[in-house]
Symmetry: C2
């Protein structure tokens, strides 16, 4: 019995914001029964992952132990928590548990992938708890910027763990359950072994504001707008969408929902009873017959995503609707670091149309969904855990959160992806380091982050690509001259001759001198030709391209 | 005489922040004598300009009128104002004028390109004015985040134009000249035709703070640091570098300057007398013998640039120096939108080392170099121009600035790159639209932004690249099978066979059915093979790669 242990292992989300995937286990070492909390995605960018569609956690470690997985729990329906559930379903094969709204979204994903609906089971809120091997797990409601976010109460023979999920402490969240400190105190009063805790806003020094505070400001703004109002926020922020819609309704404006995820989230909210009194919406067709000063569009694309409704409106039209001078566009959202360029592009496009853009620089039209430092401390004080394990943060966030914990007399442990922590004892210890990583969904294929595929794409993007083709006859002699195809390279360089001519000339010169041994050896020949092209290009255009050499032998 | 006119034409910097290049002209239409104000660069990014080294304004319009250019003036030595001077020197061939510090930097650039030093002429500050054709031009000192920023007083037969350059209203700028409202009022009292004005911070609602306010805060921070302190800022912000160095000296710390531009800017400041009492610095060699708590490094790379000193320290070592637990890293700078990812990467790398990172989120350790909205209004009120022409801003900034001007009763005109404005009359009018654009410095070659080179690189990065090689014999029949080289693509797709095999198989099938007409026609054949590869790849891996087809004919 004494050799059994309680482990915590982040496979994603610890050392980054996004791609959450946490594992808990209980049992003898290497025989622990496992539960998984969240299977999320993160998003690619041109800098590091050009052409990639989605980034998933590498779940190889779990796949190799799939017979030991009791269940997968999803704390809430944000993509960085639920986005990989369908992509990993086949390889993990474990049942999925979530609250009703989250399950609704998860099931939509499952069915898009042709997986069975009943792989996702709905659980009620605390005090419902169910047994999963050595664990007993329940969803403890907590407020966040999406309906029905649930912290997990994870009971094991080593004690109770609270996995916070993403949260803020909001007593007036507009939609969904308010944070209930009394309920939380009740749940935690028997002692909590560990609080595994959201760290996103640990650097925000002032207590967070409630969702309800944005309503009056938005209403003022909408009332003052002379033309059409278009507002964007995260579609999953159902409370905000409702606040925006309520403001529209009170201003006598008809509401149009634009963008697939906007409609999907409202649908899911109504289906699951999370949203009971959403104002009537009109179709884009009907909207065309309504004077624009009586319209408010709620649209996707708060992060400047190129294909979303807001970006399409910025380029001209979306579903037959367009913006014009005197209209207003409201970002009821913040820009996630890294998305600034896309957002600014949209703002300037609207500016060119004469549209007034209101963003959140005033702080009036958006509040964060995450707990700021004082709120984190308030939760620590309610939960009073023996050990604080920060999660959902970059390294700097986790480190700061550990500092806070230690200053308050808790044991804190900085566990990044791949660090398996033994929580059984009084102090957390590192049990093992697991290899973790990322898997790229690329078109319809999953590729490893280290496969070299994306590295080659980046190299071609930075350096251009030259393909050298050479035919060798059956006497191991070049048949004619080698020739080059260039892609992503300037046509002429310093000599003012066509670059392709210079390269082919230099290759021809080289082949004229090449010895028989080189000509017979594909590798040697390829390497030599590559070197000629790179050096020759360096002289002509000041850069060394990627080179592919194709040698065709006629024998 | 009545047909002569005063024109303003932005070729860069109006509708963007960066790449400043403004033209003024006076004379009969299409015969105006021209002066150029600033020739700056902007910086590439992976999203839109992978592999590009530098982005320059397209100065074709000027090249075609080079005999009409009287002079080029550089308002200050920031890269977005001076960076293209050497790159365009040959094609424009006009003399360059600047104040001493700016000229020092410009000459360094010229000599790196092998251009003569004496192409750059130093001018003194106002009241010095010189004649340039129909213009009389003088440099009117104004404070900014670099020494000796100069507004231009441009007198023409149509009246006086004030070109603000970049500025803030700082009466205690630490290094360089304080803003002198009395001098400005004196210069403007005879009436100003147009104020062409910086718009960068038009959305910042509160008056800007003086450079001098950051000193005490930095000093407190440095005094409280137990280990080595490393601070970064823009190297050209000589006042800030001095403030940091002074704080180090007072705390008994030896100062090391790391990064080429850091040393270059201090050198230029001392050579030109801008900086008279910079503390002694020690070499990196000597630094190794000094206890780290007695060291302060001033380093380049405040924007997370991969090759700069800060990023190299974040990866491990720079010039034999490295950071460790208990050290502090200070960003005495703000992150320019678009650079967030690189900066955050560095912060997290330092966090992993146990280094405490202090950024400007508190607002204590950095002040902007640009005038905020109340400061802009203060300048309007001093200059009292007939016409306000906002520049140095994205469209949204220019539009807001025009709104302010109009609300204050000035004529305002929103002129973006390529809009030639006639300033002769009482109200500004658009005289002509000029084609403008960007030129990319790519390695050692200048390429047009629309040449397709970069577009091809982006496509390869997003889609991968397949090269198909096929030999056609002298009877117009395929000699053997076609073969494919893949770059940036996954090895296997849905059929679990190697992607290259699937593609080659499908190409072979196609060729088996191809008619003689197709086989004889390179274009037709190439297009057909391309289509086979793209469709086949779509089925296998869910994406369509870029395809290059190389057909070699043996006759």
């Amino acid at each position: 019995m004494s050799s059994e242990r309680l482990i915590y292992l982040p496979l994603g989300g610890a050392g980054e914001i996004g791609m959450n995937a946490y594992v808990y286990g209980y049992g003898k070492p290497d025989q622990e029964r496992l539960i998984v909390v969240d299977l999320g995605v993160t998003f690619p960018d041109m800098d590091g992952t050009p052409g990639v569609d989605l980034i998933l956690p590498d779940v190889t470690w779990l796949e190799e132990r799939r017979d030991r997985i009791e269940a997968i729990f999803v704390t809430h329906a944000h993509e960085d928590h639920v986005g990989a559930v369908a992509h990993t379903y086949k390889s993990l094969g474990a049942p999925i548990y979530a609250r009703a709204f989250t399950a609704n979204i998860a099931r939509r994903k499952m069915s898009e992938h042709g997986h069975p609906d009943d792989a996702v089971t709905v659980m009620g809120a605390w005090p419902e708890q169910r047994d999963f091997g050595p664990f007993k797990v329940g969803f403890l409601p907590i407020s966040h910027s999406i309906p029905e976010s649930g912290a997990l109460v994870i009971d094991s023979p080593s004690g109770r763990v609270i996995h916070s999920g993403d949260f803020k402490l909001d007593k007036t969240p507009v939609v969904g359950e308010a944070f209930d400190p009394d309920l939380w105190a009740e749940v935690c009063k028997g002692g909590v072994k560990a609080l595994v805790c959201d760290s996103t806003n640990v650097f925000s020094p002032v207590a967070g504001r409630s969702e309800i505070t944005v309503g009056p400001e938005i209403e003022k703004l909408v009332n003052s707008a002379p033309g059409m109002v278009v507002a964007t926020t995260f579609a999953s922020n159902v409370a905000r969408v409702k606040t925006l819609a309520d403001a529209a309704e009170r201003a006598g404006r008809s509401i149009v929902l634009l963008g697939r995820s906007m409609r999907r989230m409202i649908e899911a909210s109504i289906e699951t009873g999370v949203l009971k009194d959403f104002p009537a919406v009109v179709s884009t067709e009907d909207a065309k017959n309504i004077p624009r000063e009586n319209l408010m569009l709620l649209v996707t694309g708060s992060q400047g995503e190129r294909r979303a409704a807001s970006a399409q409106l910025a380029r001209g039209k979306y579903m037959g609707l367009s913006m014009k001078e005197g209209d207003m566009f409201l970002f009821s959202s913040k820009t996630i670091p890294g998305n600034e360029r896309g957002v600014i592009r949209i703002i300037n496009a609207f500016s060119e149309m004469g549209v007034d853009v209101v963003d959140d620089s005033s702080g009036l039209y958006h509040v964060s969904g995450h707990a700021n430092r004082p709120d984190l401390e308030a939760l620590h004080d309610i939960v009073k855990p023996q050990i604080l394990v920060p999660m959902h943060g970059e390294h700097r966030h986790l480190r700061e959160h550990v500092k806070i914990a230690k200053a308050k007399g808790m044991a804190g442990v900085l566990a990044v992806n791949g660090m398996m922590i033994d929580l059984s004892g009084n102090a957390p210890t590192v049990a093992e380091y697991i290899e973790t990583g990322r898997t790229y969904l690329d078109g319809s294929v999953q590729i490893g982050a280290l496969d070299g595929v994306v590295r080659d794409r980046i190299r071609m993007a930075l350096n251009g690509h030259v393909v050298v083709t050479l035919i060798i006859d059956d006497e191991d002699e070049p048949l004619g001259d080698p020739w080059c195809e260039l892609m992503g390279l300037p046509e002429t360089g310093s000599s003012n001759s066509a670059l392709v001519d210079v390269l082919e000339h230099d290759l021809g010169q080289f082949l004229g001198r090449a010895d028989a041994k080189t000509l017979r050896d594909d590798d040697k020949l390829g390497e030599a030709l590559r070197r000629v092209v790179r050096n020759s290009a360096q002289g002509e255009i000041g850069k060394k391209p990627e080179v592919t050499v194709v040698v065709s032998r006629l024998h």
